[in-house]
Amino acid sequence: MFGPLVAKPGSSKNNQTGSWRMLRKPKFLHKNCIGCGMCKLICPEACIDKKDKNFYEPDYSYCKGCGLCSYICPKKDIIMVEEK
């Protein structure tokens, strides 16, 4: 007989941490993006996807609103806006 013993790879995807956001969330302006990929590189939630050339988007179902993508963007193309 066995109880819960192992977990499947990446099964944390079932935990939608986007619900943690209280105050703010990132808004990707898609105006000045140079495709450096730094936002995707440093996101602690690993939830920023490259959708197209010079076009990145966060997955709001996981984004915790930390603001690091906005900090790192060299072209100030990501701003933090109020979470409604």
Binding site: P4, A7, K8, P9, G10, S11, S12, K13, N14, N15, Q16, T17, W20, K40, L41, I42, C43, P44, E45, A46, C47, I48, D49, K50, D59, Y62, K64, G65, C66, G67, L68, S70, Y71, I72, M80
Partner: protein
């Protein structure tokens, strides 16, 4: 399924604090190593926020045993893979600063001495964060923690950081280095370099902790950069015991680094105490030769 859940080997849905430096570092490490990687994780923040049954953020084989034995379990996995002829798989041991410099030091030293092909990564957030911000051997001088609080008599932690990078280098292992999430590409380079070497490797990664150090989550990367640029967290590389590379800095004053952090707040009220911490940075800069040459 979203791309981000397939692109990375450490994925969303973990319960780390918003802006956690360790979450960034762990993902950068495993993403740089690729799918032929096995991780043994010590007890700590990273283990707890990534593996709450039945969920796991890890897309590579991963095991958590105890607090102090990550290096020993990793040694066992490496020996098993050697027996199976699967030496191309990179075995890693992940631990926090406590699980490395304090309770984990014996197993780490044993692993280094025996020469296992294991990459040991220390995620240095400078205190026992998972248990509530207690002082560890890697807590910096004058940092306030719950067991080394700044008060009427104490000025925070009264000991310097244990030189674990040097301790590992003193084992004459092929590669021992320090890195920072503030310099993610440098971290990736160091991980890839370690992966290309057969033998024991140690990388200590500075991971600022918004909750434990007391700053807004959007400042993690800036604070990590300032730690390096002030000289308080030198980025160095040792090969076979010899210091071969340092990251040269143009010296930011220590006050720039500590200003946003609640754990150093008491230094802003006491000039003498702040000067002592600046002295630590100055000594590092001299010892490692971190200063950029005057042109």
């Amino acid at each position: 399924m979203s791309n981000h859940l397939k692109d990375h080997l450490f994925v969303s849905g973990h319960t780390a604090c918003s802006g956690c430096g360790q979450a960034i570092a762990a993902r950068l490490v495993v993403d740089s190593l690729g799918k032929d990687t096995i991780v043994c994780n010590a007890t700590g923040c990273l283990e707890v926020f990534s593996s709450k049954c039945p969920q796991s953020s890890w897309r590579i084989p991963w095991i958590h045993s105890l607090f102090e034995n990550a290096a020993a379990v990793a040694s066992g996995i490496e020996a098993a893979l050697r027996y199976l002829g699967k030496e191309h798989i990179e075995v890693c041991a992940f631990a926090g600063d406590g699980g490395t410099s304090d309770i984990g030091l014996q197993a780490l030293s044993g692993m280094l001495e025996r020469g296992h092909n294991v990459l040991f990564c220390c995620f240095d957030n400078e205190a026992y964060m998972n248990t509530g911000i207690q002082r560890s051997g890697l807590t910096p001088y004058e940092a306030s923690t719950t067991t080394s609080p700044a008060g009427k008599i104490w000025q925070g932690n009264w000991r310097p950081k244990k030189p674990v990078v040097e301790i590992c280098a003193a084992h004459f292992i092929p590669y021992a280095a320090s890195a920072s999430v503030g310099f993610p590409q440098d971290l990736q380079r160091k991980v890839k370099k370690a992966a290309s070497i057969s033998g024991p490797k140690y990388i200590q990664i500075h991971c600022p902790c918004p909750l434990g150090w007391g700053f807004d989550s959007s400042l993690t990367l800036e604070i990590a950069k300032n730690a390096v640029l002030s000289g308080l967290y030198p980025l160095v590389e040792y090969e076979y015991g010899k210091l071969t590379k340092v990251f040269k800095i143009s010296r930011k004053p220590v006050i720039e680094y500590i200003k946003p952090q609640r754990r150093f707040r008491h230094l802003l009220k006491d000039e003498k105490v702040l000067k002592e911490l600046q002295g630590v940075a100055d000594r590092n800069i001299e010892y490692y030769g971190l200063g950029k040459e005057e042109k």
